[in-house]
Each structure stands twice: as C-alpha cells, then as structure tokens.
C-alpha cells in the first residue's frame, strides 16, 4: 500500500470556562461528552468501552513495564486509576467522569481522557478520510458545546483544538498508523526521527511563546515541540519521546504494529492534516519495503534529535541548519526534500503511471508546499496552520506596533482553534476563502454520524446505529451484544481492521433486522 493504510487521529481538546480558570476540568469534560451522548442516544442505555484487549504497558522494544512501577496516567486500561485525583471528584452526587465514554455511530470513541474531552476518530484508509473524520470531530465538539450551553444547570464552556495553554501544560494530538509487525522497530526509530523533526515545517500549528511555560516571548512553528524531552520511550504525559514505543495494536498482534505518534500538532488546515498523514504513510511504506535503506533519505541520522526538534520549531525563518552525526548540516526543508525525492522514486518504481489518486495528490502537494516554503514562506499561508497564523500575527504587529509579549497576540493564538465558527479564527479565514479546503461541508457533516465504509469501523458504527440498544460494550477490536435468549454476553472480535467493511458485512447487516438475528448469523 502507498498512502493507503489504516490510520486514526485522536485529539484531546482544550476546555475552558470563561472567568473561572479553577473550574474542575474532569467534570467539565464529562459534562461535554455526556451532553453529546445523551442527545444522540435518545435515552437508551449506553454501551460501555471494552478494555479486554488493552495493553498500555507493552513496549515495542520487546518488554512490558511493571504495573507497579508505571505512572497512574499510563494505566489507560483502568480508567478510574488513570485519572488524576479521581477520588476528589467521584462521589455519589456527581456522575463518575470516568464513565463518560461513548462509541459513536461514525465508529469514533468520544470520552474523557485525564482532564480533556478526547475524540478518537474511526479507522480510515486514506489521508482524505483522515481529514474528513478529524474535521467531523470538530463538529462533534461544537455540537457538545452547544448542548451544554442550552442545558439549564450546566456550566457553559469554550473548546479549542490546540495543544498547550502556554503556561506549561500540553495535551496531545496522536496519530495511529498500523504497520507491518515484521519491520524492525530500530529501523522505525532511525528513519522516522529525522522525518518527524523536520515535518513540522508543514504540520506545525504555530505558537506564541517559547519554552514549555512561554518564558520567552516570540513565535514558534509547533505547539508541541518544546514538550519533547527524550528520543524514544513509552511515556505520553512526561519525558515525552519523539518516537513513542507503546505497543498496543488493537489488531492481530502477530501481523500488525500500531505506530503511536505523539509528536504532532492539532491542525485546522485541511491541507496540513492531509500532508501530516499522507507523508507519514508514504515514509512508512518505504520503510516496510526496505526502500529507504537504498536511498539517500535513509541516511540522515541527527546528532541531537531533541535539540533539533526544538531548534526547528524556533526557526520560522526556516534558515536553521540541524547537525547530522556525520557532520553535515541541513535545513528542515532540505531534510523533507530528501524524503520527498525518495518517495517520488519509490512510487514511480512500484506503480509508475498506475499510481492511485490519493498517493499522487500527496506527492504533488508535498512538492508544492516545500517549493513554497523555499521561495516565500507566506506563500504557503493557504495550506499550513503556523504560516496562516503568523500572517495574522504579523499583520497585528505591524498595524498596531505590538511586541511578541502582547496579550492580543496570545489571544489570536488561542482563538485560532476555537471550535465555534463565529469565534474561531481559522474558520473565519476558511469562510473568506483564505485557506484552502479539500472537503465539502456536507461530506464532513455526514461523517459526524456515519462510519467509513472500508474498515472495521463500518461494522462497529453500523452495529451501534442499527442495534444500539443491544450493544453492551465495544472497542476498536470488539463489539459485545446483550441479546435475548442468550445467558452470556456475545463478544464479536474485530481484530482484522480490513474486515467488517461495507463490502464484507453490508449485506449481512441488511439481512439482519435485529441484534438477535445478527448474533445468530455470526455464531451459526
């Protein structure tokens, strides 16, 4: 496969109560998720999340972290313990926030993760679909916010698709790519590190403030870069690594590895999200195929990757040269050109004129954006978040004579990703046609309620839509039914992400009026 690959994007959204910075974020997040779930479920009981196959402490380097030595935040298979200070807020009077956990008919999971509402998109196969179901998440958070505001007794909140409060806290946007288990993990680390360090030039969301707590005034390319402290590791909440080793495939273990990418930013620009997923998928395809070993792009070891990640982010002029272990110095854009040239040669060699449209699109746009970055940074303002944001900020700076520590510039940074269309600055630019959009709004709206048709998310989402009242629980790799006439719950494993598609089970679902019919058909 080229850019076609099983992918999902999970986003923790920032949440705030205007005028009350001390409001309890867990309760607010639960309120947001529950408001959406209640409105969409129409009162029926809600399927629970099935934790059966979760293994958050399994490390891709071939060992498992001792449970007793793990940080509580790592125990995502035991949600009550994974939440900070859960005992402070869980009481008979308040609904348990760790129960705010819903599976949507579009196949996504919408829940409270630590202190944020998190939307984990369904599994998709193309970068365009990754953009589509990621954008559907924005609409779901918007609808949640509106439901909360319309419900007497609930505290109105504002919600942001960003990654830091600028005061030392960061929350993640994670990409997940299924890849071939046979690819040695050492090769993944070696080839992806320089790629991740340099891809920020088009995946960065832009940030006002330098350092984790913004101790220096200024603008940098990435929201997340300053929060990364090590090269490789299992953690996601501290000592954050450029390459994360969590080995929890949510799929057939012998066949698949799920590459959990935590180094990316939440992007609003559709082209940036397309490129983030598409270029990474292409690099993974080359990696699995052994192509990078024979390419100049396979030999770009950085001498200090973490330092380089920070330096690239702190260099919106794109002139900084990072140091390679062999003594060479290259700019982030030059590093990206090396990967692009390798990808073009790879696709030409393997597919020639038969290349699929999704792959061709990613290659074309990758080349266009690098060309623009090289000639005039602001010429990429229609495609890349940090550049579009910087253009606004520079506009204010020159019009009003503002320094980088001016609060109005920080306000622009935050409001860039406000999910409300009447407030969000990215949405404002999109309405004016100043940033490029790839999708029709009606297609995004359709993705709010409907799953992709070409992965197992179709089975999950359709089961919820058709037999929701009989679904006791579900997860990425299971749907569990509670049906009449059977003493025990009926667990349907969905370990193969490319089965359970519309082509595979559409006719079966159409044939089965009830969950009882479906379970009978599946169990013979």
């Amino acid at each position: 496969m080229t850019v076609r690959r099983v992918v999902g994007i999970e986003t923790e959204y920032g949440i705030s109560v205007p005028g009350d910075p001390g409001a309890n974020p867990m309760l607010l997040s639960a309120q947001v998720v529950n408001a959406y779930a209640t409105a969409t479920a129409g009162g029926r009981s809600r399927p629970r999340w099935d934790y059966e196959d979760e293994a958050p402490l399994r490390d891709a380097r071939g060992f498992e972290v001792d449970r007793a030595r793990a940080h509580p935040s790592q125990l995502t298979d035991a949600p009550r313990r994974a939440t900070p200070n859960a005992s402070d807020v869980v009481s008979a009077e308040t609904e348990d926030p760790t129960m705010a956990n819903v599976i949507l008919t579009n196949g996504a999971r919408f829940y409270v993760d630590h202190a944020h509402p998190e939307y984990s998109s369904p599994e998709v196969l193309t970068p365009r679909d990754a953009v589509r179901w990621d954008r559907a998440g924005e609409l779901i958070l918007l609808e949640s916010l509106r439901r909360v505001a319309a419900t007497p007794g609930l505290t109105p909140v504002t919600i942001y698709k960003n990654n830091t409060d600028g005061k030392g806290a960061s929350y993640g946007t994670h990409e997940n790519y299924l890849m071939d288990r046979a690819t040695p993990f050492g090769d993944v680390v070696r080839h992806l590190t320089p790629f991740f360090v340099s891809r920020q030039v088009f995946t960065g969301a832009g940030r006002v403030g330098l350092g984790q707590d913004s101790r220096e005034a200024g603008f940098q390319i990435s929201q997340r870069a300053d929060f990364f402290e090590v090269e490789v590791g299992l953690e996601t909440t501290m000592k954050r690594p450029i390459i994360n080793t969590r080995d929890e495939p949510h799929a057939t273990v012998e066949k698949y590895r799920r590459l959990h990418v935590i180094v990316g930013d939440a992007t609003m620009c559709e082209v940036a999200t397309l490129l983030k997923v598409g270029t990474t998928s292409l690099v993974l395809a080359m990696l699995e195929d052994g192509w990078l070993e024979r390419s100049p792009a396979g030999d770009l070891p950085l001498s200090e990757p973490v330092r380089a990640l920070h330096e690239v982010s702190h260099d919106p002029g794109l002139t900084h040269l990072v140091r390679l272990r062999d003594g060479r110095r290259m700019s982030a854009v030059q590093l990206q050109w090396a990967y692009l040239e390798a990808a073009k040669a790879y696709v030409e060699d393997r597919y020639g004129a038969d290349v699929d449209a999704d792959t061709a699109e990613v290659l074309t746009r990758w080349e266009q954006v690098l060309g623009r970055l090289e000639t005039d940074v602001f010429s990429a303002a229609r495609e890349v978040d940090w550049i579009a944001k910087l253009r606004l900020l520079e506009g204010y700076r020159s019009r009003d004579g503002l320094d980088w520590d001016n609060a109005r510039l920080q306000a622009v940074d935050l409001q860039w990703s406000d999910v409300r269309p009447e407030k969000g600055l990215h949405r404002k630019l999109a309405e004016r046609g100043q940033v490029e959009t790839l999708l029709r709004e009606e297609d995004v709206r359709h993705a709010v309620d409907h799953p992709p048709t070409d992965t197992r998310a179709y089975f999950r989402g359709e089961c919820l839509a058709r037999y929701g009242a009989r679904v006791a629980a579900a997860s990425w790799d299971s749907v569990i039914f509670d049906v009449a006439g059977r003493g025990a719950l009926q667990r349907v494993p969905t370990l193969e992400p490319l089965r359970g598609t519309r082509e595979h089970v559409g006719a079966l679902l159409d044939r089965c009026e009830t969950a009882e019919d479906l379970v009978a058909a599946l169990t013979g």
């Binding site: 944020h116 806290a169 929350y171 702190h314 002029g317 002139t319 602001f378 520079e394 506009g395």
Partner: protein
C-alpha cells in the same frame, strides 16, 4: 539554500538540555514578503477584530489546562 546559521558554534557534552538559545524570530520571518497587499491584510484584521475576545489579557490568563498526554 540559506546559509545563516543561528546555532551556537559548538556545544559541549555537559551543557544542559534546556531550550536552545535560538533567536525568537528567524531572519526570514519579518522580511518575508507577503503575497497579499497591505489593504487585504488590513481588511482581514478588521474582521478578526470584531470576533477577538475583548479583554485579551483576562482571556489569555484564564485559559488554564490540567493534565494531558
């Protein structure tokens, strides 16, 4: 390719791993030509002004997050 390096000339093993001393604004940032005219940008800023939170300082100070992956 641009040749203006902005890093320290050399770095010793025992230097701390804190945020490197790279200037806040790259040289290309303020000098880069915008592909739009000033009038276009001003019109855009005027529109953004209308939706920007009125008390920026309070808005920014009140945006506090806890926890996160």
């Amino acid at each position: 390719m641009p040749g203006q390096e902005q890093q320290r000339p050399s770095r010793r093993e025992d230097e701390s791993e804190d945020v490197p001393a790279v200037p806040a604004q790259g040289s290309g940032q303020t000098s880069a030509k915008s592909s739009e005219t000033d009038a276009d940008v001003d019109a855009l800023l005027d529109e953004i002004d209308e939706v920007l939170e009125s008390n920026s300082e309070e808005f920014v100070r009140g945006f506090v997050q806890k926890g996160g992956q």
